[in-house]
Symmetry: C2
Subunit: 298 residues, 2 copies
């Protein structure tokens, strides 16, 4: 059967044409859900994927297209959440496409102190990576603009936390008083490790952000080196917070962009956490795969 | 004797005309040191203070005018630093003003792990507040774009740390994915306290930044309330980090903008630290006062 999977993020549109689970074609654009009005979603699908449609096509969408300001709201499923729970709560936007079109809900959790957290899209990456790795229980880290750390137990996402890591790094590089000190393009492994070392000695992030600047101003770092140092201190802050409740040496399942995951793998190894890498695009397809089949539906 | 004191920050110019220590006039503009080329400093003094000059005027400048990219570099004095150390290392820029004109150096410190930290301008606020309060030993907190926490012992600044608190708050409000959730103008005391409560339960700042968003997205907070909550979580992160090595209940000497200091006073009280407030402008003048007299000079 021919299927189309769309991972519709805030700032990106990623579509995959599949035939019986085999990837035939891919389409990536920057037409993210935050950039579109409600009326533009169907036309964007039509424009990017119209030539893929045939009589048997079926469309599944995950990510921010299901948010309140997206195409059609798909209310969050509460933790603990299984892939079956998501399958039961698919929603269909109004559309005139010549086949079924459904949006996968996100997942929400509430901490013991009553604070909510949410994800949209990452839940399928977690279930997909778990499927690829044959994992029923484990810790998943999904680095990115809003990094997620999730606990899987008996195939359920039982809790998760989000860290504004990638967004803070971008804000620092583009809009902060560090911006003109962050003009290096190539990662510098020695400076990355120095950042990890300083973060271990002093985990106060607000202080680290300033000392990244002070090190350049006083000549301890060359200007071109600040990005790698800064990246390490922010990633280390995420890892030190997120791993606080984990047993020493727990295996971390890393799901995301391969280059970013490698940076995290280096940082995790520095803090004595081994990790296993999964590509985000392979994981999201593995997560969607059972949703295309009727068998999982109730 | 008639004197002019200028506190020349990154984004602000604050000049004070004094006669035998009595404040006669003030001039505040946004002609901060970061906005001026080297050639514009003298003209800015001339334009804003020219009508104050008489035969006996004497000019002292502290703050970013003494940075490498300012008017004339005044190299940092190393901790432990006394007011006398600053007086010994005043520098004179080239100028054609009809009286003496000197720039006060900043102060630098190096932590035990070899990380540098720097201040310019705040050192005079610390010495000045200490003088106003008759304090030889104590902890000083100077809230702001780059908040400083300093230890004074035997009239010396023995160490200090900087937190990028105010800058992060501004970045979040103006440029982040929270920007459109931060349109409340008036501080909300209940939401400020909720932010403090959540920060105490979970001090992971990168997580707090995201949950400020998640609380609005899921309807736990109204949009207009996010600023107060966010402000509390960022300030709490600074206080929890900076106070980690302090004895319980230590008195904090707060020096800065009165409205911002009141917000810090609320947060400090929540974490059981009593505080004493000093206005930044009064403190900087009290800090400069001895530098105008010849008696302190070596």
């Amino acid at each position: 059967m021919q299927c189309i999977a769309i991972d519709w993020g805030s700032t990106s549109f990623r579509a995959y044409l599949l035939n019986n689970g085999r990837l035939l074609e891919t389409c990536n654009t920057d037409e993210g859900a935050l950039r579109l009005s409600r009326e533009e979603f169907e036309a964007t699908v039509q424009k990017n994927c119209g030539h893929w449609f045939d009589g048997t096509s079926k469309l599944l969408i995950c990510g921010m297209a299901g948010s309140r300001n997206g195409w059609h709201e798909a209310p969050y499923v509460s933790c603990p959440a299984t892939l079956n729970d998501l399958a039961e709560q698919l929603v269909s936007p109004e559309h005139s496409l010549p086949f079924s079109c459904e949006i996968v809900p996100g997942v929400k959790t509430i901490t013991t102190s009553g604070v909510p957290d949410v994800m949209r899209g990452e839940e399928l990456q977690i279930f997909g990576a778990a499927s690829l790795g044959g994992i029923a229980e484990g810790v998943f880290c999904l680095p990115g603009t809003h990094s997620k750390w999730a606990q899987l137990r008996q195939h359920q996402i039982i809790q998760f936390s989000t860290y504004m890591t990638g967004e803070l790094y971008t804000l620092m590089r583009k809009h902060s008083s560090l911006a003109n000190l962050c003009n290096d393009e190539d990662p510098d492994p020695d400076l990355f490790e120095l950042g990890l070392e300083h973060a271990r000695a002093n985990p106060a992030l607000l202080n680290q952000l300033f000392t990244s600047r002070a090190m350049a101003v006083t000549g301890y770092l060359e200007t071109r080196q600040v990005s790698s140092y800064l990246s390490a201190t922010i990633i280390a802050s995420e890892i030190l917070s997120a791993s606080a409740a984990l047993p020493c040496g727990a295996l971390i399942n890393l799901v995301g962009d391969p280059a970013l995951c490698q940076r995290y793998q280096t940082a995790l190894a520095y803090f004595d956490y081994p990790s296993q890498l999964y590509s985000a695009s392979e994981a999201v397809l593995a997560g969607m795969d059972p949703l295309f089949s009727e068998t999982i539906r109730v």
